[in-house]
Amino acid sequence: MAKREFLGGFELLVLLALMRLGDDAYGVPISEAIEESSGREVAIGSVYITLERLEQKGLVSSRLGEPTAERGGRAKTYFKVTAKGLREVRNAQRTLVNLWKAVPQLEGGPA
């Protein structure tokens, strides 16, 4: 069987947040989306490191926006999921759903 690298838990969260946000995804909304879903504070620096790793794997692409005064003259970096990234998320979903189905403790929804 070919060796394939699985997506990490945080990588999957970042990819899902990116897919929900569409073209306007940059550090702040991505971390806010994860915070809202998980209820935990997220370090924006960790989000960027994960995005950098995902870009090296070819799962996301980035483009530089315009600098704004609100950000102290610094530009935003916008990210979006590539076709390969979308495939990886689908694979991860399939794997998780298959595993979930076989766990009797998780049947009947959240406790």
Binding site: Y26, G27, V28, S31, A43, I44, G45, S46, Y48, I49, L51, E52, E55, Q56, S61, S62, R63, L64, G65, E66, P67, T68, E70, R71, G72, R74, A75, K76, T77
Partner: protein
Amino acid sequence: MRRSQPSRLATWLLTRMTSSPTSESLIGDLVEQFHRGHSSTWYWRQVVTSILADTAKEFRRHPILAVRANVVGFSVLAALQTGILSLIRNRPVHGALWVAGRWIQPAQWWPSPMLVWYLCLPVAGLFCGWLVGRLHQAHRIAMTRVFAGCFIAFQVVQVCIWLATVDWSVEFNLGHYAISSLILFVTILFSGLWGTPADGQSQLPQLSIPTRNT
């Protein structure tokens, strides 16, 4: 009272201590969030977490270099500490100084052991950090940061072990140990900040960031 601008020191530290090509965008995000009402404490927490996460990333990305940086750093530091301790223990017997018409014996002009220790320690820290950076030119800031991080983690673990097993009948000065560790940590860290920030980025892969079509 809340500050109108985020801490310049925190921003400077983040600029100098991260090697990511997106660090400018990260700082922009943090500044944006600060202006939206987040506190200075939040800003500092984000900066420290980002630096720690970036240091861990560098360790994972260059494990062999990180191990080498630690071997060099800890070895040189141990040698220097031994040298300083020998300087303290072996106070010169001969070498009286002729000052203002009278001879002053070594016991009078030789500084107190504590003063020698605290004067030599920052020099030792700066030298170790500089040497680690010098031997890892392509990843100078990153490797100095990795060494500083491993050093402070090692000190914390050592203190925890001592606190659990120490024989309190033997003199154990936790305060001096903590201050010495802190001085070494800060000086090692800051020795890596000399030079241009780009030094730490020169060998790192760059993100493909196409310009926006207008």
